[in-house]
């Protein structure tokens, strides 16, 4: 009775009935690939975790070369549950990239980018790019040896881009070398620029998902796809997925606390086996395999141009995949997707072990 009275009071002022009625009518397709739908929600859940733990870390973190490492060390050794917050933030960042990649490939294989969801695909791709930038900028913040030299390698790769490379490298580093200026601007990107952009883009992405609903897989013969109510059925299952993600995240954070390493020393030589985060490993390893000179061209520049073209082609799939747009099966494209996943897995593994 009390709950009903509170509901009515809020409903009179906020119009909750309309939202409730909307949720009652919203439906989600049910089919053999429904499982993949949950990864978009898991990515969102991990983003929220990132925001919450990031805010907690901000209470103690200091973005200067003299204090960054020590402040993170203070967080993990002295602050109550600081180790857990930092470990969750680091693990969650990696799981978020993984969930976003799975979400992207599930959208690709289910051809969910078909008209009228092209903008949803584009906004999702930009969100993935921002997620990778979150990882890249956040990696430097503890100011440890690995982070310092990986950032050097990463910004050098950005510097190899023709025409604008030099400017991009100087812009990212805040000078010619990775210094305190780099740390300050990476911190700015990580806690202000990227969260702002991501929030805006995320709202657009969710609004588009809301507008067009969840995509149904291609079905020959125009047979209708069964559905389930978004609320409470899908929401209950989504919450189960979130709890599952939380269990995985908590286990990783507690059993394998994220290492802090040694404080960065710009005057030592780069440690052997320096490599970027796992999600850049495939590209990094491929660029290492390319000869330094191909005919008269710089091998690294050609490699970066090639990857740039591949990324552009991938991004523009909704425009050139006409067969899927016409509800036809496109086995070649599916094969290409499988090949790309195999390439990413194998080259990431090679990049890690070699």
């Amino acid at each position: 009775m009390m709950i009903r009275r509170v509901w009515n009071w809020v409903d009179d002022r906020a119009g909750l009935s309309a939202i409730h009625a909307f949720l009652q009518h919203k439906a989600v397709p049910v089919h053999s690939s429904t499982l993949w739908y949950y990864f978009g929600g898991i990515t969102l859940f991990l983003f929220v975790i990132q925001v919450l733990t990031g805010v907690l870390l901000l209470l103690y973190y200091r973005p200067t070369p003299n204090e960054a490492f020590e402040s993170v060390q203070f967080i993990v050794t002295r602050v109550e549950f600081g180790w857990l917050v930092r470990s969750i933030h680091s693990w969650s960042a990696n799981l978020m990239v993984l969930a976003a990649l799975i979400h992207m490939f599930s959208v690709f294989f289910l051809r969910s980018y078909r008209q009228p969801r092209e903008l949803t695909w584009f906004s999702g791709m930009f969100l993935l790019f921002l997620t990778l930038m979150f990882g890249f900028s956040g990696y430097l913040l503890p100011w440890n040896t690995l982070a310092y030299f990986a950032t050097k390698v990463g910004t050098d790769m950005a510097g190899a881009v023709p025409v604008i490379g030099g400017f991009v490298r100087r812009f990212l580093r805040g000078g010619e070398e990775v210094t305190g200026a780099t740390l300050t601007r990476f911190f700015g990107f990580h806690v202000a620029v990227l969260p702002g952009l991501t929030t805006i883009l995320l709202l657009i992405h969710l609004a588009l998902v809301q507008k067009w609903g969840m995509s149904s897989p291609q079905r020959g013969g125009g047979k209708p796809v069964p559905t389930m109510p978004f609320f409470p059925n899908f929401v209950l299952r989504e919450m189960m997925a979130w709890y599952g993600a939380l269990a995985v995240l908590g286990s990783l954070a507690a059993l394998f606390p994220w290492e802090l390493g040694a404080k960065a020393d710009p005057f030592i030589s780069a440690p052997a086996g320096i490599r970027p985060e796992w999600y850049f490993l495939a590209v990094f390893y491929t660029l290492k395999l390319i000869p330094s000179k191909i005919a008269i061209f710089d091998g690294e520049v050609l490699g970066i141009l090639f990857f740039g073209l591949c990324a552009a082609a991938w991004m523009l799939i909704p425009f050139w995949d006409r067969r899927s747009a016409e509800e036809e099966r496109h086995r070649l494209l599916t094969g290409a997707g499988v090949f790309i996943i195999a390439y990413l897995v194998v080259f990431s593994a090679l990049g890690y072990w070699r």
Partner: protein, 439 residues
């Protein structure tokens, strides 16, 4: 010999040379021009008939001219006549090699040190070339065993040229110089490791072999540490002589200052002096100084203490006590290190404890240094300090492992809670779907 006085323009003595390529061809004027140009250029530098004639001779007579291009003295503008006398400005051999006018020819071995010292002992001359160069080499040499033997008529005794080479003398810092720190032991060994050369002397010839097994050689040759001691560091270079018994601790103490100070205050100092024993080398050897280990100390087999001390005497008990105390500290530090490693393998952050452990290891080093006081109380002080640190590190490791277990229990509880919640959500979803008739 008369042919030596022939003008150089007429070509070197001996059979007439075959004409150059291009002879009697149309190229002749150009070739002549090409050959004349360098000659014209050379004509600008002072004439040196010593080089001109000796370069045209064979074998040992020509060798000095071949070597001299690399000699530091040539770079300083000196030439043959500065050591050998004579007049290089004339091609007339009678005039240029006139002993009445100061020509010396080959320098007598006994005169070599004084000949070099003519410039090298004169600050006014030497400082024209190198203001920082020392000028006491001859004075030092005269104190050496080499000089004394030479003065007594032993022509096998080393003079300047035996170490520094002759006609291709280089600066000591030049890596190709025989007295460069990395090459000096081999230069000394050329004579001192040669049993035939050293025959008749009463010193052994195995010093170089022993030195090559020493920690000093390892530092010099393997690590390339140019400051590592070699022959000259202990024996002196120009004043080379074996350090007397009374000097040994001073020689070693040049680098190992703390050890020398501790030893000087120790009961061993007087005992060794009375027994005519040479301080450091009694336990550590001289040329074959091995990396010291704890096995040198104590009352077990292999320890040097038992060479003099016997069960029941005060030193025997002290040796045993010092060894056991240091071993106790080493074991405690090892145990603490293992504890930290376990914590690190579990992902625990123990960098502060690691720093403390480094301090504990410094106490261990200090205790080993304090051994040279041969006073168990001094060693005890360092050991006790180290043990306190090691125990604190051990406790930090235990706390880290305890914290790890606490985290794991917390994780287990969280996972159970999550699993129960997920089961509840699943049941709720099934119930909703059952009511609505969904699959």
């Amino acid at each position: 010999m008369t042919s030596l006085s022939a003008p150089m323009w007429g070509g070197p003595p001996g059979p007439r040379r075959a004409p150059w390529p291009g002879h009697r061809s149309g190229l002749q004027p150009f070739v002549a021009l090409l050959l004349t140009l360098p000659a014209l250029l050379l004509a600008q530098s002072p004439k040196n008939s010593c080089v001109e004639c000796h370069a045209a001779l064979d074998g040992a007579q020509a060798k000095p001219t071949q070597l001299f291009d690399r000699d530091i003295h040539k770079k300083a503008g000196l030439s043959c006549q500065d050591c050998h006398g004579g007049d290089p400005s004339t091609d007339d051999m009678q005039a240029s090699m006139n002993r009445a006018r100061g020509f010396l020819g080959k320098i007598d071995r006994r005169s070599i040190p004084a000949r070099c010292g003519r410039c090298h002992s004169d600050a006014a001359i030497i400082h024209r070339f190198k203001p920082q160069q020392r000028v006491d080499q001859l004075a030092q040499y005269q104190t050496s065993v080499h000089a004394k033997r030479l003065a007594s008529g032993d022509l096998r005794a080393a003079t300047c040229i035996d170490c520094h080479s002759v006609h291709d003398i280089r600066e000591a810092r030049d890596a190709e110089s025989p007295v460069h720190p990395l090459r000096l032991p081999e230069t000394c060994a050329r004579c001192h490791a040669d049993a035939a050369h050293m025959k008749g002397y009463t010193i052994p010839t195995d010093q170089f072999d022993k030195y090559r097994r020493s920690v000093h050689w390892e530092a010099l040759a393997q690590r390339g540490d140019l400051s590592a001691p070699s022959c000259a560091t202990c024996h002196g270079s120009h004043g080379a002589a074996p350090p007397g018994v009374a000097s040994v601790s001073h020689v070693c103490g040049t680098c190992h200052v703390v050890f020398e100070n501790l030893f000087a205050k120790s009961p061993h100092k007087k005992a060794f002096d009375d027994a005519g024993l040479g301080a450091c080398v009694v336990c550590h050897s001289n040329h074959e100084v091995a990396k010291p280990t704890l096995a040198l100390v104590g009352v077990e087999s292999g320890a040097v203490c038992v060479n003099c001390h016997t069960p029941g005497d005060k030193g025997f008990a002290a040796a045993g006590r010092m060894r056991s105390r240091i071993e106790e500290l080493a074991a405690s530090l090892r145990s603490s290190d293992e504890m930290l490693q376990r914590a690190e393998r579990s992902g625990m952050e123990v960098s502060e404890a690691r720093l403390d452990l480094a301090t504990g290891n410094e106490s261990l080093i200090k205790a080993k240094v304090d051994l040279h006081s041969f006073d168990p109380a001094v060693v005890d002080a360092s050991v006790t300090k180290g043990l306190t640190t090691a125990q604190a590190v051990h406790r930090a490791g235990e706390r880290a492992l305890s914290e790890r277990d606490y985290r794991r229990r917390g994780l287990a509880l969280s996972l159970v809670t999550i699993a129960v919640t997920m089961a509840g959500l699943w049941l709720a979803a099934r119930e909703v779907e059952r009511r609505r008739g969904l699959p």
